[in-house]
């Protein structure tokens, strides 16, 4: 009898099978993951989560009998008051009196839990950041080192003993450095001949002595380790692209923005943030809200406090430029801007906004997404404006061929994700759709 402790054996034996399953059901799981966005609060979006897919796609069929029809009998325990010959009305939904429920045709859903990584991989699969080319190296931990072969000079700390000894050995072999063993043999021979009762071998002793001297000299001449043998590990500094990004969330918080609209905007921001976090090591978020004047606030205030006042979009744009100038040098930061608004703006402000956008903002940002949120139940189809708002009309002129600015309209939660995907879809180079 053996008792074996297997607890330390590597776990995760099922990992391969799990991955194969996800691979096989990828389309289904991906759809489920994306659908799950509709019903889930944005906060736990990147938690590990439960998904449900139709069983049909991952079914393992067998030749089996149906659960209904035909003549069957059942044995049950716990008879209370039935007597032989009693008739019991057939339970609705099939002939099996509960006996076959759960094992037959009934199960059409399959539920399981995805880890956070699996979820995000599937969720953000095939998306990419626009203009990824602009990645700045920033000071600090930007320099990485990697080993790059061997060199003949260096600090003692980086001496490569193995390499050095290998060189030494091959040099000693090549130069025929006498070994200690060879010298010892000759010495023994000399000692034997020098002994008083040694056989007479004239000249032999002299020859051996000369040979011994030659070997000792050669051994001193050819050193054990020569500076020529020394090898040092070489390290090469390599630039490590550490991209950092800042994401500006601009939102109109004037009275005309309803909770619903804010919710839509929030969802979009959350997605963008999630996505940027996967692409950059470091992402900062700046929340700027505006009425007729703009201010930088924390997230809580941004989403949950109500302000009253007019609407001056340019104030937010100006404030943003101020923050950029103060803290985020465009040379060092990738700047993303997402603006959400219901489209209201004081008409006289439009020219100023456009000017700011065109001259100051677009040249320095990676991407400027304008999201116009509408009321739930608005009959407009996604992205097709029936009536242009003031701001939309104005921005539309700017969103030119440069392609850094995109505009979309959203009315319902379920449209957020498609719009988001559409914006960040992986595209062939040079095929970027310019905003409308």
């Amino acid at each position: 009898m053996h008792i074996i402790d297997r607890r330390l054996n590597p776990g995760g034996k099922s990992l391969v099978n799990r991955q194969r399953f996800l691979q096989r059901a990828k389309t289904l799981v991906q759809k489920a993951v994306r659908d799950s966005l509709k019903d889930r609060s944005i906060k736990d979006l990147d938690q590990e989560s439960e998904v449900t897919i139709v069983r049909d796609g991952v079914q393992e069929p067998t030749l089996r009998r149906t659960a209904t029809g035909g003549n069957r009998d059942h044995i049950f325990p716990g008879n209370k008051d039935y007597v032989e010959g009693d008739m019991i009305p057939r339970p609705s939904g099939g002939g099996g009196a509960g006996n076959n429920a759960g094992s037959g045709d009934g199960e059409d859903e399959f539920r399981f839990v995805l880890t956070r990584e699996e979820f995000l991989d599937l969720f953000l699969d095939d998306l990419e950041l626009p203009e990824m080319a602009k990645r700045r190296l920033v000071a600090g931990d930007a320099q990485g080192v990697r080993s790059a072969g061997y060199t003949t000079s260096g600090s003692p700390a980086s001496l490569s003993v193995t390499r050095t000894m290998r060189n030494s050995l091959s040099r000693r072999i090549a130069l025929r450095r006498p070994t200690r063993e060879e010298i010892r043999l000759i010495e023994e021979e000399i000692a034997r001949l020098e002994a008083p009762d040694a056989p007479d071998a004239p000249g032999e002793l002299e020859r051996l002595r000369a040979e011994h001297e030659r070997l000792v000299r050669r051994r001193n001449l050819v050193s054990y380790i020569d500076p020529i043998d020394l090898r040092y590990r070489r390290h090469e500094p390599t630039p490590k692209p550490i991209a950092q990004a800042v994401m500006f969330c601009l939102m109109d918080v004037s009275g005309s923005m309803t909770e619903h609209m804010k919710d839509l905007a929030k969802r979009f921001y959350a997605l963008l943030h999630l996505f940027l976090r996967r692409c950059y090591r470091h992402v900062e978020v700046v929340f700027i809200r505006h009425t007729d004047r703009a201010e930088e606030v924390d997230e809580q205030t941004f989403f949950y406090s109500q302000e009253t006042g007019g609407t001056l979009v340019s104030s937010a744009l100006e404030h943003m430029l101020g923050v950029v100038a103060a803290r985020y040098r465009p040379d060092d930061w990738n700047i993303y801007v997402a603006q959400a608004s219901d489209g209201d703006n004081v008409p006289s402000d439009n020219p100023k906004s456009i000017r700011l956008l065109e001259e100051k903002i677009l040249p320095i940002v990676q991407y400027f997404a304008y999201l116009e949120v509408g009321r739930d139940g608005d009959p407009m189809a996604m992205g097709i404006p029936s009536r242009s708002s003031d701001l939309w009309g104005a921005y539309d002129k700017v969103a030119g061929p440069k392609g850094r600015m995109v505009m979309r309209k959203v009315h319902h939660r379920r449209e957020i994700y498609p719009v988001f995907r559409e914006l960040f879809q992986r595209r062939a180079a040079g095929d970027r759709v310019s905003g409308r």
């Binding site: 402790d5 659960a67 009998d73 044995i75 716990g78 039935y82 008739m87 009305p89």
Partner: protein, 516 residues
Amino acid sequence: MSTGPGPLLFEGGDWSFDLLKRIFDAVERIALEDLKLDTYPNQIEVITAEQMLDAYSSTGMPLFYKHWSFGKQFLSNEMLYRKGMTGLAYELVINSSPCISYVMEENSAMMQTLVISHAAFGHNHFFKNNYLFKQWTDAEGILDYLEFARNYITSCEERYGQNQVERLLDAAHALMRQGVHRYPRAQARDLKMEAQRENERHAHQERVYDDLWRTMPKAPKQASTPAGDRRKALNLPQENILYFLEKSAPRLQAWQREILRIIRLIAQYFYPQMQTKVMNEGTATYVHYRIMTMLHERGQLGDGAFMEFLQSHTNVCHQPTFDSGHYGGINPYALGFGMMQDIAGICVDPTAEDREWFPDIAGKGDPDGVLKHIWANYRDESFVAQFLSPRLIRAWKLFKLTDHQQDPALKVDAIHNERGYRNIRRALGRHYDIGWQEPDIQIVDVDLTGDRRLMLEHHVTNGVRLAEGDTAKVLQHLANLWGYEVCLDELEREGGKSLKRHSVKPQGSGLGETAA
């Protein structure tokens, strides 16, 4: 109130490897000396919950080939476990020699005692002695074979691509239930017997020879029926579909046949387990109950631990009634344990009724001997049909419902009374008869000279047909393996009236060799 002399094996719930060893020795002494069980050598492995989940999803085996369906299994178990909907089994035991039992590290010392009794001795004895396991499984070879299977399938994946292998495995899994030999096949007769038989036949012909027969007009000579020869050559009819494909599918490559064979042999290995669920669990439960009680009687198990044991034992053997809301079929632990307790009682202290129903064993006095004989020579169906006693039927208040398609209502056909006992017992036995519960499907013919269509028949019993959606999918797999069209006729058992014909063509040229 433990009375015996022995010092307690343990106090409290903690266990150590040293204690595990002492527990094992104490349990082994009772199992071998008192119960006289006959087991394979044991190997106890302590694992974590995570590892138990892993083991679950490869049908309990320590090593298995890779397939997505096991991942699916894993995900669904993991989900149920995490949500607390199911607990994990306390143990898992493998029919191999040495017999490997997994025990979980979370188990208390009492629990370890229980699972060692249950798995390492109860199940182990059953595996080694039951005729079905002896006939169909090779406990010594299974682990080596599984390792071979895993390596072989991995090497096929490397050579032919994971996709190819996965498609083949999908198809083979779909037909796995039709991949077992249900009956031990006729041994090839030896040549001496064959010669003797031929001589007898010849002598018989000499004896009945009469020249008059020569004058009879000859019937017009019939062309020999190629169909008959063909069926004989192909061993048709054949119900082991995987076996037939392995031997006769025209387009499969050698590695594909080998994989079909692997799946078929694994299916065959699990075949006895499907037929002995009640007996297997019943045996293990009966054995652990006996051993734990004896440990307690001998003072090796404290009162507290014994109460803890009774608690979990009762949970395992609980049978909810059909209307309780927890009913999920008949609990094999409860039925098996209940019947075995009952049988032991009949042997020792029979009532008049027992003497009438079980004249062979009533009052015979050697319950362990009787039970061991039963464990060795029965399967669920015959066990229930033979040994379900009226007492148990009354205690469980079993009743039988019949459900006829043409009737508007279900009828209570039998209850726990004098007239119902046999009816109920027979019906319950039937429920465990795999030949009765699984559809009877056979390959009957192949049109080898024509379009190579494979013909199958399903003999429909009691009007219960095959589930449509699944059948179409499985036949698609079958057609892909066969490489040509496949036809399945559903025939009524009486009269042979055709109820439905399924017909499927392979996708592309199927899984086998392409024309090139």
